[in-house]
Symmetry: C2
Subunit: 204 residues, 2 copies
Amino acid sequence: MTLRFSAREKVLDAALAVIRCNGYAATTVDELCARAGVTKGAFFHHFSSKEDLAIAAAQRWSEKARTLFAAAGYHAHGDPLERVLGYIDFRKSLLRGGLPEFTCLVGTMVQETYDSHPAIRDACARSILGHAATLEADIEAAIESYDLKPAFTAKSLALYTQAALQGAFILAKATGSARAASDAVDHLRRYIELLFRKPKRGRP
Amino acid sequence: MTLRFSAREKVLDAALAVIRCNGYAATTVDELCARAGVTKGAFFHHFSSKEDLAIAAAQRWSEKARTLFAAAGYHAHGDPLERVLGYIDFRKSLLRGGLPEFTCLVGTMVQETYDSHPAIRDACARSILGHAATLEADIEAAIESYDLKPAFTAKSLALYTQAALQGAFILAKATGSARAASDAVDHLRRYIELLFRKPKRGRP
DNA sequence: GACGGCATACCGACTGGTTGGTATGAAAGC
DNA sequence: GCTTTCATACCAACCAGTCGGTATGCCGTC
């Protein structure tokens, strides 16, 4: 066989697509197998259960995100605030194509599984919190370079960006258009701009 | 039976609780019946299908929200901005108890069903957009009374508040604590304060 | 380098339990 | 007596997961 280990990859790719369309519970192992062009035997050879597949999918999601964002251009800005705003702009630029193509796998999965599948929930949490953590250093540096004494922490702002983005996806799904998400991201950007705006004269 | 129409109500109440725990797809008709203390015959007498139940649940959710928010005290403020901030504070005050008790039914459902069950998606969209619309007038009035010429519309800000809240719920589910949601709501409040250049609560 | 032993990768029919939904009828209220 | 409200019994489809089996690569031994 020329391509070994390919079944696992094909199943994971199928999972990212199908689960983002239908969610975790409504996704069947058979459908995943059909999409991946793989048999059930191969599926359960690589994954011990459907839950195991979901955890692996969340990990793969994290890896794809890591490489995608690491390769993005916004890290080049000298000003840390510009890096943070560049991140937001980059997120907005990703809102293209169909909804299943730009919405978040782990945000979708954690909604359905947080109470019934703790292992999946934890994998999703690691993905979201891990991604948020990549923003923290830039936010922290921006706070220092702008001499801010904020009532919030860099971590909580990083998490809030993820909340706003996840909520933007929900609005997009409800309205059926990326526009709703795009508008929400505009508000998120404006918030960060306002946070770091130099206080006007006469105000603290 | 002394109480007529009670089966329908009991099933709907069960649906609000169970779907918020497990999502739509993972919720079975049998579990709903068991929780409601009702038989399957009663279920399918009142609802033509599981999908029909979900739509009715979304409508009931909207009604419960309508009465809950209509009864809240923030409408009494004379300043429209105070009404908007009062709404945010009220939302924050609701973040009590277990996660299934304060998270949003329609936000959860639309994530799983937007692609496969258009009728449920539309019911969820009506619920979210309808609720957002109740904020619009106050935001609009606040913009006028503060003489703002904003780059955003009252409608888009109203929708953004919902996005931030929905995202806050996702963070809460991922981390397993209401604290994450509460922190996100604080950021949302700060954004609105900054938009209207309003000093923080507690300051003279 | 041929061979044997063993692990990995995969196949697909099968299963036991579950699921959404139906058929039928009884009891209660108007 | 007719409609509404529910209960019981049931079903066909579907589901995650199993299992016996095959194909192929790897590695040490002679």
